[in-house]
C-alpha cells in the first residue's frame, strides 16, 4: 500500500487521547464562534430592514403594458395613506423605466420592480438597497434614506450586451420638498 514510510518512528508521537482532546476543544470553540455569529444574524434579522424579502408575488411579464400594477401610467412614485412612498419601475434591456425618481428622505420607501424581459438587479449606491429583479416575479424592498442627494442605481446582474449602460437615478429630497411634487407628476425627474 502506498503510504508514507511507517518506519519513521513517528507513530504514537503524540497520544491519541491528547490529539482527540485538542481537536474536541477546538471544535467546541469553533462551534461556539459560529453560534455567536448566527445569533447576531438572528438578532439583526429581528430589526427593521435587515431581513431578506419574503413575499413571493408572480406577475405575467408579457402583459405589463396592458394591465396590472406596472402599466405606464402607474409607474413612478406614489404615496400611500400611511405616509410611506412606493416607487414602481420596470427593469428592461437596457434601462429602468422611469429612469429618474424623486423620493423623500426619512420616509419608508418601497421599491417595487419587475422585469419585462431578463433577470436584472439593482442597488442604490451608498445604501443597503440591493435586490434581483426576475421576470415573472415582483421585487419589493424597503428603504429609508437618511441623507438627501443624487444617488445612482446601476443594474447589477448581467442582462445582455448593454448591461454596463443600464442605470437609474434616485433623487432624495427633504420631506417637505417632496410634498411639493404634485401627485400628477408621479415623482419622475427628467423626461416622461
Amino acid at each position: 500500500m502506498a503510504s508514507s514510510n511507517g518506519n519513521d518512528n513517528l507513530s504514537g508521537l503524540i497520544e491519541e487521547a491528547t490529539v482527540e482532546g485538542t481537536e474536541r476543544r477546538w471544535f467546541y470553540v469553533m462551534a461556539a464562534m459560529l453560534g455567536v455569529m448566527l445569533a447576531i444574524i438572528v438578532l439583526t434579522g429581528a430589526t427593521q430592514m435587515l431581513h431578506p424579502m419574503s413575499d413571493v408575488e408572480t406577475i405575467d411579464a408579457k402583459t405589463l403594458h396592458l394591465r396590472g400594477e406596472f402599466v405606464e401610467s402607474n409607474l413612478g412614485v406614489s404615496t400611500r395613506p400611511d405616509g410611506s412612498v412606493v416607487v414602481r419601475m420596470i427593469a428592461e434591456q437596457y434601462m429602468f423605466v422611469p429612469q429618474c425618481v424623486v423620493v423623500p428622505a426619512s420616509t419608508l420607501v418601497h421599491f417595487r420592480l419587475t422585469s419585462a424581459d431578463v433577470t436584472h438587479g439593482f442597488f442604490v449606491e451608498e445604501t443597503n438597497t440591493n435586490a434581483m429583479v426576475v421576470p415573472g416575479f415582483i421585487t419589493d424592498v424597503r428603504a429609508k434614506f437618511r441623507n438627501t442627494g443624487d444617488l445612482k442605481m446601476p443594474c447589477d446582474e448581467f442582462c445582455g450586451y448593454g448591461h454596463h449602460g443600464m442605470a437609474a437615478r434616485v433623487v432624495v429630497v427633504r420631506k417637505d420638498e417632496f410634498m411639493n411634487v404634485s401627485p400628477g407628476e408621479r415623482g419622475i425627474c427628467g423626461p416622461q
Binding site: S4, V19, L34, L50, V56, D60, E126, G136, P154, G160
Partner: protein, 544 residues
C-alpha cells in the same frame, strides 16, 4: 508508459492546457475594464470572453484536475491497479468533446450568456449541450472512483480506506450531486427554448436549480486542495498528519453540507420566502465548520514537522519548516489566502452584510481570492508532487517552482485586494466598460489599474509553471522515482470505524437534507402560476 499513469497525466495536462488560455482571457478582461488602452476594444467581446473564461475555470479546468488527481490516487492507493480504465477514457473524450462543443459558439460570439447562464437570457443550444457533455464525461469518473474504492475495501478487509482515496471518492460523489442542479436546469428548461421547441422559461425555478450547483461546486473545487493538505503536505514537510479522523470528518462534512445551502445565493431574490432563506443560511454555517477544523489540524501537522526539524519556542517551528518544498510553501500561502477569503465568505452569507456587496465587484474579488488564490495554488503544488511520480522524471528545479508559487500568491493579492475595495465602493460586477470621465468612476480607476497589473503577474506565473513542467517532462528519466505516498497519521486508526470508512450512510443523509431544504423551494414553482416568461436571445431574434 504504464497506462495507469498515462490516464491521470493526460487529464492533468488537459486541465492546465485549458487553464492557460482562460488566464489569458482573464488578463484581457482586466485591461478592458480599466481605463488603459486595450486591443479589440469591443464590449461584446468582453461578455463572450467572460463566458469562455468562466466556463473553463468553473466547469472544465477543475473537473479535469479532480479527475486526474482521482485516477492518480486510486492507482497508487491500489498499488498500481486501476479498474475501469475504459470507462475513464470514454469519460475523458466525452468531456473534451463537450468542451469544444461549448466553446465554439462562445468564441463565435453567439452564446455570451456567462457561465451562470441565467435564463430568460438564452444562448446557442450547442453551448448548453457542451456543458451537459462535460458533466456527463465527469460522471464516468465518479463511477470509476466508486468502483476503485469498493475494490480497495474488498482487497483490504479490516482496514480503513486510505484517507486520500476516501477523500477523492467523497469529492466525486459530491460533484455528482452538485451537477444535478445545473444539468436539470439545462436539460429540462433551457435546451427546449434554445432549440426553439418551447418559448417560455420559469426564471425563478431556473435560478433555484442553479443555486444547487452554484455553491456546492466551490466545495468540489476546494476538495482536492484539502485532500492535499491532509495527505500530501505532512509527509512533504517530513512529519505526520495530526489526526486522520479529523480529515475524514472534514470530508464528510463537506459532502453532506455543501449542497443544502445554495439558497444563500438567492437572498436578494424575489422568488423565495425568508423562511428557507434562513434555514439554508444556518446550514451554511455548518459548512464553514470543516474549514475551521482543517485549519487547526493542518497547522498542528505543520507544527509537528517544524518541531521535528528542530524548531523551538512558540513560533520557532515555523522558521524550521522546509520552505524549499513547493508543497509546504503552497499550503502556507494557501492558508494565508484562505483567511481573508473565508472572512469574505462569512460576510457574503450574512444577509445584512451581503446587502452591501451583493453583485458588486466584492463578490468577484472574493471568489478569485479563494478559488484563484487558496485553491489553485494548491493545484500547482499537487501538480509538482504528482508529475515526477507520473512521468518518472524529477522536477527540474524546486526553487523555480517555489518562486512560481510566490509570484502567484502576490499576483492574487494584487489583483483581488483593490478589487474588493472597488466592490465596497459600489462598483457593479460584470461590466465590460466604465466611464472613467465620471468623477465617481474615476476614483476607482487606480484600483482597477492595479488589479490589471496583477493579472499580468499571474499570467507570467502560469508561464513559469508550464516552463517547469514542460522542461521536467523533457528531462531524461531518472532512477526509479518513489511512488506517490500519502501521509500517515500520528495515530493511524487501529480498527475500522464504519461511519468514517464508507459513504453510503452519508449519501442518505445528504439526500434527506436536500429534500428538506430544497423540497419546498423547488416544488413551489410547480404550483405558482403565470411566471413563465419568454426566452431572449442576444444575437438573434427568435427566428424559429
Amino acid at each position: 508508459m504504464d497506462r495507469n499513469r498515462l490516464l491521470p497525466l493526460v487529464h492533468l495536462w488537459a486541465s492546465f492546457l485549458t487553464f492557460l488560455p482562460a488566464i489569458g482571457l482573464g488578463v484581457w478582461q482586466m485591461l478592458m475594464r480599466s481605463p488603459l488602452p486595450t486591443p479589440i476594444d469591443d464590449p461584446n467581446v468582453y461578455y463572450a470572453s467572460v463566458t469562455a473564461h468562466g466556463s473553463i475555470m468553473a466547469y472544465v479546468f477543475p473537473t479535469l484536475f479532480a479527475m486526474g488527481f482521482g485516477y492518480a490516487i486510486a492507482n497508487s492507493s491500489r498499488g498500481g491497479v486501476l479498474s475501469g480504465r475504459m470507462l475513464a477514457w470514454i469519460g475523458f473524450y466525452v468531456l473534451i468533446a463537450g468542451t469544444v462543443m461549448a466553446l465554439v459558439p462562445v468564441a463565435l460570439g453567439c452564446s455570451s450568456v456567462l457561465y451562470t447562464f441565467y435564463p430568460t437570457l438564452v444562448g446557442s443550444p450547442w453551448y448548453y449541450l457542451g456543458v451537459v457533455l462535460v458533466i456527463l464525461g465527469s460522471f464516468f469518473w465518479i463511477a470509476v472512483m466508486v468502483i476503485n474504492m469498493r475494490a480497495w475495501k474488498r482487497d483490504n478487509p479490516g482496514q480503513m480506506v486510505p484517507l486520500a482515496l476516501f477523500g477523492i471518492t467523497a469529492c466525486a460523489l459530491l460533484w455528482g450531486w452538485t451537477a444535478l442542479g445545473a444539468a436539470s436546469e439545462i436539460l429540462f428548461q433551457i435546451l427546449p427554448v434554445a432549440f426553439g421547441w418551447r418559448h417560455t422559461i420559469d426564471a425563478g425555478l431556473a435560478r433555484t436549480l442553479f443555486s444547487l450547483t452554484l455553491h456546492a461546486i466551490v466545495y468540489f473545487w476546494l476538495f482536492p486542495a484539502y485532500i492535499a493538505y491532509y495527505t500530501l503536505m505532512p509527509q512533504a514537510a517530513g512529519g505526520r498528519l495530526y489526526s486522520d479522523t479529523m480529515g475524514r470528518i472534514a470530508f464528510i462534512l463537506f459532502l453532506v453540507f455543501s449542497l443544502p445551502v445554495g439558497l444563500h445565493h438567492l437572498f436578494m431574490d424575489p422568488e423565495h420566502g425568508s423562511g428557507f432563506k434562513f434555514v439554508q443560511a444556518m446550514l451554511t454555517f455548518m459548512v464553514v465548520l470543516p474549514t475551521l477544523l482543517t485549519i487547526f489540524t493542518i497547522t498542528a501537522s505543520l507544527e509537528i514537522a517544524g518541531r521535528l526539524r528542530g524548531g523551538k519556542g512558540l513560533f520557532g517551528w515555523i522558521r524550521a519548516l522546509p520552505w524549499d518544498e513547493p508543497m509546504v510553501l503552497a499550503v502556507a500561502l494557501s492558508l494565508l489566502l484562505l483567511g481573508p477569503g473565508g472572512f469574505g465568505g462569512l460576510i457574503n452569507m450574512s444577509f445584512a452584510m451581503n446587502a452591501m456587496i451583493h453583485n458588486t465587484s466584492w463578490v468577484t474579488a472574493h471568489f478569485h481570492l479563494i478559488f484563484g488564490g487558496a485553491v489553485v495554488i494548491m493545484y500547482f503544488a499537487i501538480a509538482y508532487e504528482l508529475w515526477p511520480r507520473l512521468t518518472r522524471r524529477p522536477l527540474i528545479s524546486k526553487p523555480i517552482a517555489c518562486r512560481q508559487l510566490w509570484l502567484w500568491f502576490w499576483g492574487i493579492l494584487i489583483v483581488t485586494v483593490p478589487w474588493h475595495i472597488a466592490g465596497l465602493m459600489g462598483q457593479p460586477r460584470r461590466y465590460a466598460i466604465f466611464d472613467y470621465s465620471d468623477p465617481s468612476e474615476a476614483r476607482m480607476a487606480p484600483l482597477v489599474i492595479i488589479s490589471a497589473a496583477g493579472g499580468f503577474i499571474l499570467f507570467f506565473s502560469v508561464l513559469l509553471f508550464f516552463f517547469v513542467l514542460v522542461r521536467s517532462n523533457l528531462a531524461p528519466r531518472s532512477e526509479v522515482m518513489p511512488p506517490v505516498r500519502y501521509s500517515l497519521a500520528i495515530n493511524p486508526p487501529p480498527t475500522v470505524l464504519p461511519l468514517l470508512n464508507g459513504l453510503g450512510f452519508w449519501n442518505l443523509i445528504l439526500f434527506a437534507l436536500l429534500l428538506i431544504s430544497y423540497g419546498y423551494p423547488i416544488g413551489q414553482f410547480f404550483f405558482l402560476r403565470g411566471q413563465d416568461s419568454p426566452g431572449y436571445s442576444l444575437t438573434r431574434e427568435l427566428s424559429r
